[in-house]
């Protein structure tokens, strides 16, 4: 097994009267165990120039990580929009199946557990067709 950790820190000194400081570290394990995840896509970088809906992680494939990521297994997804923030109006909408999860603006990242399984694609739609660069990585069992 391997030991992989994901640490988060959210801080603000002025969003409330008292400082906000949230930190947490998760060790990435297989479903329901203390055994560390041993597989990953590695960190990938992809450039896109389309405003159309695009599949980033395809759960419909019969092999590869799609076959390994199912509801009964553990998988974590990291995605970052590498673009500059620009004027703040350009973003990438991240979807799971057809549900719009949220918008990643330039520099934003997200990290979430991925249920996977049939039809559970991770998709994105850029707000325009200028070039967008995403980095992503999947950890799975």
């Amino acid at each position: 097994m391997a030991t992989t950790t994901a640490a988060i820190s959210i801080t603000s000194s002025d969003i409330m009267d008292n400082a906000v400081s949230i930190s947490n570290t998760a060790t990435l394990t297989t479903a329901g165990t203390d055994t560390g995840l041993t597989e990953t896509t590695g960190l990938a970088r992809k450039k896109f120039a389309t405003g159309s809906n695009t599949v980033l992680l395809d759960s419909a494939l019969a092999s590869g990580i799609a076959a390994d990521v199912t509801a009964a297994k553990s998988a974590k997804v990291y995605i970052r929009n590498i673009n500059d923030r620009g004027d703040g109006t350009k973003y990438v909408t991240i979807l799971i199946t057809a549900v719009e999860v949220g918008r990643l603006y330039g520099g934003d990242w997200m990290f979430f557990p991925w249920e996977g399984g049939s039809g559970k694609d991770v998709e994105f739609t850029a707000s325009d067709s200028t070039e967008t660069t995403l980095e992503f990585m999947v950890f799975h069992e």
Binding site: A2, T3, T4, T5, A6, A7, I8, S9, I10, T11, S12, D14, I15, M16, V20, I22, N24, A26, T27, T29, A31, G32, T33, D34, G36, L37, T40, L43, A71, S74, A75, K76, Y78, R85, D87, G88, T89, T93, I94, I96, T97, A98, V99, E100, V101, G102, R103, L104, Y105, G107, D108, W109, M110, F111, F112, P113, W114, E115, M137, F139
Partner: protein, 151 residues
């Protein structure tokens, strides 16, 4: 405005043939701005019991169209087999096992009105005893980010 940052660090010395050390930091801004920080937040901790149903952890709002929101959720349980399902608009995002956390941008807009449950972030415990789930939501300031009274 306020300045709020979110950082992630992914590390492993033995997952790959070389060490993994990935870090990223973002500052949380309003939609369509370059320097206006989010100014509203809510932080909570709840115990999620196994009941056979799911609960609205963070309700979506009719006033949240085209706004920026970010959500942090952590399962503070310590029993490895225990998990909660995190869903959005009845679409399962994934399972947060004991000790896991997630951080996502969130489309908090409820096109059907505050109580139509569209885009609510929901939580359900399926196994184990009550699981402590902590959460924080950071939102921009152009509307009152509260569920309207009367429901």
């Amino acid at each position: 405005m306020a300045t709020t940052t979110a950082s992630i660090t992914l590390t492993s010395s033995d997952l790959l043939s070389d060490s993994l050390a990935l870090s990223a930091t973002t500052t949380l801004y309003d939609d369509s701005t370059t320097a206006t920080g989010l100014t509203q937040c809510a932080v909570g901790s709840v115990k999620v019991h196994v009941t056979g149903g799911s609960f609205d952890l963070i309700p979506a709002l009719a006033s949240a169209e085209d706004q920026t929101q970010y959500v942090y959720i952590a399962n503070k349980n310590t029993t490895a087999a225990n998990y909660v399902l995190i869903s959005m608009y009845n679409e399962i995002i994934g399972r947060l096992y004991a000790g896991d956390w997630m951080f996502i941008p969130w489309n908090a807009y409820d096109p059907g009105g505050d109580d139509s449950s569209k885009n609510d972030i929901e939580v359900q415990a399926l196994v184990g005893g009550p699981q402590v789930v902590e959460y924080a939501v950071f939102t921009e300031t152009s509307a009152t980010n509260l569920d309207a009274s009367g429901d």
